[in-house]
C-alpha cells in the first residue's frame, strides 16, 4: 500500500487520530448498546472525510482510493462498526463519482456533499432476493411532473436512521427487468421500521429493516446501465473496502494476542511461554489474509481504471474471491487470537478481549452470502482462463 501524495498522508494522519482517540474509546459502548458511532462520525465530518473521494473539481479532497482503503483498515482496527459505516458510505460516493456520466444533478449533489458532509446509506438487499442486488423486486413507477416513486422492502439498511441520503437499487420501471440506482434524499423518503437491530456483531452499524418509500425527480436516477456500475465499481469496491476492514479487525485481534504474550513473557523472563507458539501460528493465518487483501488492491490498481479490464470475468472472479477468502479468514484469525489469550480474551472487559472482533468478523461471510458468491464464481470458472 503506497501513500504517494501529501494529501493522502494528511488525510490518513487525520483518520489515524480519529481511529485511535475517538473510535477506539467508544467502540465498546457502541457495541454494547448497538448504537451509532456518532462521536466518530462527528469527527470524520469535521475533517471532511466523508467527501475524501470526491474529486477536486467538485470541491472534494480528491484522496486516492488506496488511502481510503487504508482508512477502512485503520478504523477497522479500532471499531469495526465505524469502519463499516465509513466504507459503505465511500462505496456509494465512489459509485456516484465513477458513473455520474456528466449529469448536472449528480455533479451538484457532489458539491453539496462536500459542503454538508452528507452521509449516504445503501439499500441494495431486498426481502425475497436477499443479497442478489441485480434482481430487484421493487420498481420505479413514473409519476407526474418528472417524478417517480418506489416502495422497497429492505431487510437491512445500515445507519438508515442516521443517513442523509439513500442509494437504492430498483427495476427501472414496473415492466422492466433492467436495474437502476436511485438516490433518494431523507426528506423525499419515509422509512417504516420492520424490525429491531440486536445482532451478534457489527452492532454499531444500526441496520434494521425498513419499508423504504420515496418520490424523487427522475434526474436522481443514475444514468449508466446497472450491470456496468455493478461490475466496474460497486462489487469490486465493496469487496476491497470491506476486506480492508476485516483485515483491520483481525490485525487488532492479533495485536491483542501479541500484547498478551509479551505481558506473560515479561512476568516470567526466561520461562517458556506456550502461548507464544500459538501466536506464531496466528501470524501465519494473518499474513495469508493480508496477502490476499493487498494483492487484490494491487490488481485493482494495476487495472488503472481500464473499465474494459474491470468488466472481464477474470477480474470479477478475483474480486469475488477476495470477498470469500477474506471473510472466511478474518474470523479464523480472531478465533485463534482468542485461543492465545484464553479466558482474558473471552472476557469482555480486559485489554485482551477479542469477543467483539470475533463477533464483528463473523458478519463478513453473510454480508452478501458467501454461498451465493461461490455459485457465481463456480459459473465463471467454467469459462475464465487465468485466475
Amino acid at each position: 500500500m503506497t501513500v504517494d501524495t501529501d494529501r493522502d498522508a494528511a488525510f490518513l494522519a487525520g483518520i489515524a487520530q480519529i481511529a485511535d482517540e475517538i473510535a477506539a474509546a467508544n467502540a465498546d459502548d457502541v457495541d454494547r448498546n448497538a448504537r451509532f458511532p456518532q462521536e466518530t462520525f462527528a469527527a470524520l465530518r469535521e475533517q471532511r472525510a466523508l467527501s475524501a473521494l470526491v474529486p477536486a473539481e467538485y470541491g472534494g479532497a480528491g484522496v486516492s482510493f488506496d488511502a481510503v482503503a487504508q482508512a477502512c483498515f485503520e478504523l477497522g482496527r479500532r471499531c469495526g462498526a465505524s469502519a463499516m459505516v465509513y466504507a459503505m458510505h465511500q462505496i456509494q460516493v465512489a459509485t456516484i463519482v465513477r458513473h455520474l456520466d456528466g449529469s448536472p444533478w449528480f455533479e451538484d449533489y457532489l458539491r453539496d456533499l462536500v459542503v454538508s458532509q452528507r452521509l449516504i446509506a445503501s439499500v441494495t438487499s431486498e426481502v425475497g432476493t436477499g443479497g442478489d442486488m441485480s434482481r430487484s423486486v421493487a420498481a420505479l413507477t413514473p409519476g407526474d411532473g418528472g417524478m417517480a416513486s418506489f416502495e422497497k422492502q429492505a431487510p437491512t439498511v445500515s445507519y438508515g436512521a442516521y443517513a442523509d441520503d439513500l442509494l437504492v437499487t430498483l427495476r427501472a420501471h414496473p415492466d422492466a427487468d433492467a436495474q437502476v440506482l436511485v438516490l433518494a434524499a431523507k426528506d423525499q423518503t419515509t422509512l417504516e421500521p420492520t424490525g429491531t437491530w440486536d445482532p451478534l456483531g457489527m452492532r454499531g452499524t444500526c441496520s434494521p429493516g425498513y419499508v423504504v418509500r420515496a418520490t424523487v425527480p427522475t434526474e436522481q436516477v443514475l444514468g449508466q446501465p446497472f450491470p456496468a456500475i455493478s461490475t466496474e465499481s460497486m462489487v469490486p469496491i465493496s469487496h476491497l473496502l470491506w476486506s480492508h476492514i476485516w483485515l483491520g479487525i483481525a490485525t487488532d485481534a492479533f495485536d491483542r494476542a501479541r500484547a498478551f504474550v509479551r505481558a506473560a513473557a515479561k512476568r516470567a523472563p526466561g520461562q517458556p511461554v506456550p502461548a507464544a507458539v500459538k501466536l506464531s501460528h496466528v501470524m501465519t493465518q494473518l499474513s495469508l489474509l493480508r496477502a490476499e487483501v493487498h494483492s487484490s488492491l494491487d490488481m485493482w490498481n494495476g487495472a488503472a481504471d481500464d473499465r474494459e479490464k474491470l468488466s472481464t470475468m477474470a477480474f470479477a472472479l478475483r474480486m469475488n474471491n477476495l470477498k470469500l477468502a477474506a471473510s472466511e479468514q478474518a474470523p479464523v484469525v480472531c478465533q485463534q487470537a482468542m485461543g492465545v489469550c484464553g479466558i482474558v480474551g473471552f472476557k469482555n472487559d480486559t485489554p485482551f478481549s477479542i469477543g467483539r472482533h470475533l463477533r464483528d468478523s463473523m458478519s463478513a461471510s453473510l454480508m452478501v452470502a458467501n454461498e451465493r458468491i461461490h455459485q457465481t464464481n463456480a459459473q465463471l470458472l467454467l469459462i475464465a482462463k487465468e485466475v
Binding site: 474494459e308 479490464k309 487465468e386
Partner: protein
C-alpha cells in the same frame, strides 16, 4: 428486420441463451441481455461457442460487451479466426 445473419451463432444462442424472445426476431446488433439472457446463460453460450468453433476466448474477451449481440459474438469469433458462416 434488418440483419439476420450468422445462423450458427444464432443456433447456439437459441439453444443456450434462454432468451425470452425468439432469436430470429432479433437483429444482429440487438442486445441479447435486453432480450433476457442472464449472465448465467451467457456462460453457457460461451462454452457452446468454444466447443462448436473449436476456439478459446481469451480472458480479455470474456466480458459482457463481447457477448452483447449476435454481431459482437460474430466479430469476436472472426477475430479468433473461427470458420464462421456469415
Amino acid at each position: 428486420m434488418t440483419d439476420v445473419s450468422f445462423p450458427e451463432v444464432r443456433e447456439i444462442v437459441k439453444e443456450h441463451g434462454r432468451l425470452a424472445a425468439d432469436v430470429e426476431t432479433l437483429a444482429d446488433g440487438d442486445s441479447l441481455y435486453e432480450a433476457g439472457m442472464t449472465s448465467h446463460a451467457s456462460v453457457n453460450v460461451m462454452l457452446a461457442l468454444e466447443d462448436a468453433f473449436d476456439v478459446e476466448f481469451p480472458d480479455e474477451m470474456l466480458k459482457r460487451s463481447v457477448f452483447e449481440s449476435v454481431a459482437s459474438i460474430a466479430a469476436a469469433l472472426q477475430q479468433l479466426d473461427a470458420p464462421l458462416v456469415a
